[in-house]
Symmetry: C3
Amino acid sequence: MAVILITGGARSGKSKRAEMRVRAFPGRPVYVATAEALDAEMEARIAGHRARRGTDWIEREVPLDLGEVLVASDGGGARLVDCLTLWLSNLMHAERDWEREVSALAAALPRLKSPVVFVTNEVGLGIVPDNALARSFRDAAGIMNQIIAGVADEVEFVVAGLPMKLK
Amino acid sequence: MAVILITGGARSGKSKRAEMRVRAFPGRPVYVATAEALDAEMEARIAGHRARRGTDWIEREVPLDLGEVLVASDGGGARLVDCLTLWLSNLMHAERDWEREVSALAAALPRLKSPVVFVTNEVGLGIVPDNALARSFRDAAGIMNQIIAGVADEVEFVVAGLPMKLK
Amino acid sequence: MAVILITGGARSGKSKRAEMRVRAFPGRPVYVATAEALDAEMEARIAGHRARRGTDWIEREVPLDLGEVLVASDGGGARLVDCLTLWLSNLMHAERDWEREVSALAAALPRLKSPVVFVTNEVGLGIVPDNALARSFRDAAGIMNQIIAGVADEVEFVVAGLPMKLK
């Protein structure tokens, strides 16, 4: 078992780094996308990621039931979950209890046999946002990152495409 | 004497890390809160911090006269100042000369006998804010962090609950 | 040849660090400003940087044709380019093809004989901006930083005036 968390800012090279980490494990890699292609901007980004990854990945679109899918797909190749921040946003939009879901995910991770590499975002290093919803989201994202980092075997912070080892 | 600066983003685990550093020093720890419980959001956050810390801390609410309180409380247990960014905001709202106050604090620190652990925020790693006041604040916060880091014995940058040693 | 990239947030001490790195090379240093003094806020910031640097620097104002100027000024002292983020913003405002320009710059760097120290900004570590233009800019800035970091010999991330070595 290996749980790896790759964090960083927007366009910092997190996904590319995470793909590299997943490819280092044996077996056919599984791409778990938490994004749904709801608009053109998101569609273009998803297409760009797919073009870079190549076609040998098993692809899953999992906006909400992440823990369940990681358990169900366990025993095969390494999984790349891209990304936790969007998953959190999906949970909040669906009015799920995100704190319960994040804790359940964290509790499930140590029991997995196949590796999981998570991508997440740092969103709390700018000026306090004006609107309360954005403040709630950045608080939740920070708390989620701490919880997953707490159970991860490795944590990397990526800046300008270059990883710093946090754990 | 030990002056430690713990910096990081919102909900990065800075306060928790700072509490751990303070508890490693002998004596009854002193919690110096720069926050005033002015609204429900802030009250809830303060209550959450207090619940985690436990009840053995001496508590002080110091929105403005931080240097004076650190000098006056010197000789006892280690102090946790949470946080410098809010202190700066208080100074600016009170129309104090923040550059003079930050310099005076930095000058006072090397003469203290009991340890001080400061929590501060990184707020300059997002897009340039639209409004001039927010730009001034993030400039001031960056300058303050450089000044205090310059006189600190140790500086840590916390991401996802994990510290990186800067100094 | 040495290409050094210094990245960090607003008022993190990036420029000061970059000046120190440039001064460690022999020869008369060259200051390549990508800023144009278009308003009072910018003028004050430029004047502040100049006062700190001292008067022995050769100064160039280069809002757009950065690669050309680095090639033309090659063979003399080390160059400090402050900063890439503003250069990118200038390219976008002038409706130049920024991806082509960044790639051309990256391709030119390994052929230079005199050192170049670039300052750039991390802008992608806050909440996703509301407006599409700001999102495009932070995406472009992240991509540019990855490209230049990829060809740089050294990359440093500065927080509170203190550098972390990324490469």
